[in-house]
Symmetry: C2
Subunit: 551 residues, 2 copies
């Protein structure tokens, strides 16, 4: 401050001197008289002395400030790099746990500085963020502990730095609307930066956290391009919605397993490196495997069935699936997570189909109950309604679906696959007719399902296969599989498929195998459709598509 004042004073002097040495005209534009000149010189002299005095005073103030004792020394600054030098046993409080209930207590918090805002030189407001929770913190100059220097330090901390603070929980005069913790704020006593931001942020987290609604209200707001976000994905993951999306993704896996373990299923881990492109030669990634070639598994289908032949009864797997499909669409990834299951049944594949239906209802219900906070955080940026569903999943036959669509005026072939637009329309028709967003379509035409699908016993145009739909989007596909090697060979021949790479698979059934059915879910798809998101890259941690293999 002192230096700035000095600079201003000396600039003023310079300007006046310049005036004198140049032309020296009066206010009327004509050269000045001698008397007037004399007067001006006197004024100049006076002004010069005044400036000198101001400069002297400013210098004295600066000297005083420099020698002044900073009463906050040791209570703020940059902490040494944490190399685990000590373990104090101190109790740490998480931001989400701060509330009015802790009023008056001293807490220790580690969090990111989301924003830092000085008001004058005596006060600084910080918004601290930990995962999806935010709280307001305040530093105010006082005569006992908080110096101007400390407040200045606080106000200069760059966004996204990580700090460690000691603070007292106080009740704010009015609720803090801008933070997730509204009924309490922190009065900071100690403040240390424990990890620095050393580079310009790739984009503003605030911009990356806006909802479509905000952009509609104010079209001048900055939009962050998807590719920019994905290039800086490590940083992008910090937005509250992203943090919550991946907690929900983890929850879907947890609930899938909870349900199936309760049903007596065993988790398996099937190989991803396989010797032959088992499910059709195209769309498969080739690997150099020592002195030969191998391939990346396009699904655990053949292996989970092998486990049924191997007497595991019910199995499931959560693992990456690789598809070398050159599709740059909002719904395709080249690597995604498959939630797969396969179950031996006693009499009828509907035993398995019903169980899968109940499993989805279990997942949906528990998401809304146990992950309500995370859903709320996602829906703040990406508004969506929870899906509607009843106590039991609705089951339609493929024929019924065709009839519904035909009644709505669509031309639909009896044995043709449904296009994506038709599927979406079906979703709307089913919602209108049955009041549910979740339903199963059973008995698909045999011709549009894989070779290992069990034909319908009464009408060989159809098959014992099913898809599960959420809001008109397919979230699981499955079927009863052919467990009889003779029928399997017959179907392979009828479909004119090369049996050679399938010999190992068929052999698996030659030592007797129980009847079984199963299905597969794409994790990213089910999360995307549940949350009503418009691009699958939003639900993949580090998405892979034909043009993206990094970061």
């Amino acid at each position: 401050m002192a230096e700035q004042e000095n600079a201003a004073a000396s600039k003023q002097v310079d300007e006046i001197t310049q005036q004198v040495e140049d032309v020296i005209l009066g206010e009327d534009g004509k050269p000045l008289s001698k008397k007037a000149l004399k007067k001006l010189e006197k004024e100049l002299e006076r002004e010069k002395r005044k400036q000198e005095r101001l400069a002297r005073e400013a210098e004295e103030r600066a000297a005083r400030a420099a020698s002044e004792v900073d009463i906050s020394v040791g209570s703020y600054g940059k902490a040494k790099l944490n190399m685990s030098q000590e373990r104090t046993g101190r109790k740490w409080t998480e931001v989400r746990d701060i509330s009015e209930a802790l009023e008056g207590q001293v807490v220790h918090v580690q969090a990111r500085v989301q924003t830092s805002r000085a008001t004058g030189s005596k006060m600084c407001f910080l918004v601290l963020r930990e995962a999806t929770a935010t709280v307001q913190a305040l530093l105010q100059v006082d005569s006992e502990a908080i110096s101007k220097q400390m407040v200045k330090f606080a106000s200069s901390i760059p966004s996204e730095s990580i700090v460690e603070i000691t603070a007292t929980v106080v009740k704010p005069i009015e609720p803090v609307k801008s933070c997730s913790v509204g009924d309490a704020e922190l009065r900071v006593a100690k403040l240390f930066v424990i990890s620095d931001v050393v580079k310009l942020l790739p984009f503003s987290l605030e911009d990356a956290s806006r909802s479509e609604l905000e952009y509609q209200k104010d079209p001048t707001l900055v939009r962050v391009e998807r590719s920019t976000r994905l290039d800086g994905r490590v940083f992008d993951l910090r937005t509250p919605a992203n943090n919550a999306i991946f907690k929900i993704q983890a929850a879907v896996c947890q609930l899938f397993r909870e349900y199936l373990i309760k049903e007596g299923a065993t988790e398996i881990h099937s190989p991803k490196i396989i010797s032959t492109a088992s499910e059709g030669g195209s769309n498969v990634f080739e690997i150099t495997y020592f002195k030969r070639f191998a391939y990346l598994a396009q699904s655990p289908q053949l292996y989970k069935q092998a486990c049924i032949a191997g007497d595991f009864g019910k199995v499931f797997e959560i693992a990456p699936v690789f598809r070398a499909e050159d599709s740059n669409t909002p719904r395709h990834l080249t690597e995604y997570i498959g939630l797969d299951l396969e179950c031996a049944f006693r009499e009828h594949y509907h035993e398995v189909m019903d169980m899968i239906g109940d499993m989805f209802l279990y997942i949906f219900r528990n998401l809304e109950e146990r992950w309500a906070h995370e859903l709320q955080v996602v829906r703040r940026q990406y508004p969506s309604e929870p899906p509607k569903f009843g106590d039991k999943p609705l089951r339609l036959e493929f024929k019924d679906a065709v009839a519904l669509l035909r009644n709505a005026g669509e031309e639909v072939g009896e044995l043709d696959d449904l296009t994506t637009p038709l599927e979406k329309l079906l979703g709307e028709l089913v919602r209108k007719e049955y009041g549910t967003d979740f339903y199963m379509v059973d008995k698909f035409p045999l011709g549009i399902r894989p070779f290992y699908t069990m034909p319908d016993p009464e009408d060989s145009n159809y098959s014992n296969s099913y898809d599960f739909f959420l809001r008109g989007q397919e979230i699981m596909s499955g079927a009863q599989r052919i467990h009889d090697p003779a029928l399997l060979r017959e179907r392979i021949k009828a479909l004119d498929i090369d049996a050679t790479p399938l010999e190992d698979y068929i052999r698996g059934f030659e030592y007797a195998c129980p009847p079984h059915a199963g299905g597969g879910v794409g994790l990213e798809r089910v999360v995307m459709f549940y949350l009503g998101l418009d691009n699958i890259r939003l639900t993949s941690l580090f998405p892979r598509d034909p043009s993206r293999v990094e970061p």
Copy 2:
């Protein structure tokens, strides 16, 4: 039976005729007198007539049997292929649930025929197997329901066929020692084969289920080679020990997650296709990725750290890991399952290390309690003791380990890595000294750890890194990681590593990152060492090594 009797009679007649037509000597070896000859002819005639009568009677019996009404018709045979023709709603009983408590009840069971043994023509014993459970079933000819034909059908069922039976639970006269269900057996009323064995079994499941002890007692017993078993892995998985090994493997994953979810960790799924061979160029599989090359991830290390920089706090992942190491040893696989975790900590990496220690104890304790049956089944074929451990894991420093080994007379360099034999010896010394099979070794020399390992703050020869050991075998390796980009670059330079492929990784820390530590477990290794097995192929569902990519 009638046919056999006929055959015997005609053979006897033939022999006598032969005697007559040949030389015809008396008992003293000389040719017979005429009288004697006459007598013999008479005897012959008598005998012939007797044989004819017997043959006639046998034929009549056979005719009677053929025309006899089979009272069991409709109660046995080969069932139609299950194409989900009907759903009866019948209650099915699992083999493991059969016990004395069900005495007198009629049950429906689906299981494999492990063995089928007829005693005479009126009785047949079956051993039925479902997963790891076996029960004895009995068919006995009676005048009301069970025909000879049905018993004959039962005795002809090939091993490993799957049958569906209706039976009454009875209490055996004495406990059935050869079955896992000892206090009950089944009296069969209906018996249908629902899935056939259509090919010669690749080996005997009985042979594949023997313990080393049995071979010691009887060295003539057949051994099944490992490669034969692995070639027929689908079949091999049916042995009770294998079935139980993979239930235990699933249990380890379940307990790992249970513990970490309770600790607030989030499950992640990091990409397996990566753009650069990030952790050193060697030992990495190359993929053809559209018009470029890509690689298979050798660990989720860099991505799980990125999630820490992305504010996930604590993360874990269970996923395949790929190593193109050309090692054909009992301990190496080219594809295995990594149990990885990474946690931000507040003050000291021992927060994370202690948590990992408690997690292992949680896994071990729960395995012994909740998976006692499966452990017993494995230990029947592969005997092992449960590991010894206390309430808290023992923590040694690397220096202490070196001192223990030196005291035992070993030459050990202060900053050298421990060889596998030294690690095993250390396990024995620790057991003797501290009475535990499970311990952590802390503060490894910096020089033998990866570049991202945080140096010890007091002695830069050492580092904030640790290994966890079970019976002298390393089951987890981990460390505090360097979260400061400047120090990271310094270490990369000091170790003369090419920083180019690591730029994305380092950049992840430039927007501030909390201090963090973590580690990785090889699932197959931890199961192998816990069960005291001698080859990692025993704990991989479909193992992959440099010479095996199938089945």
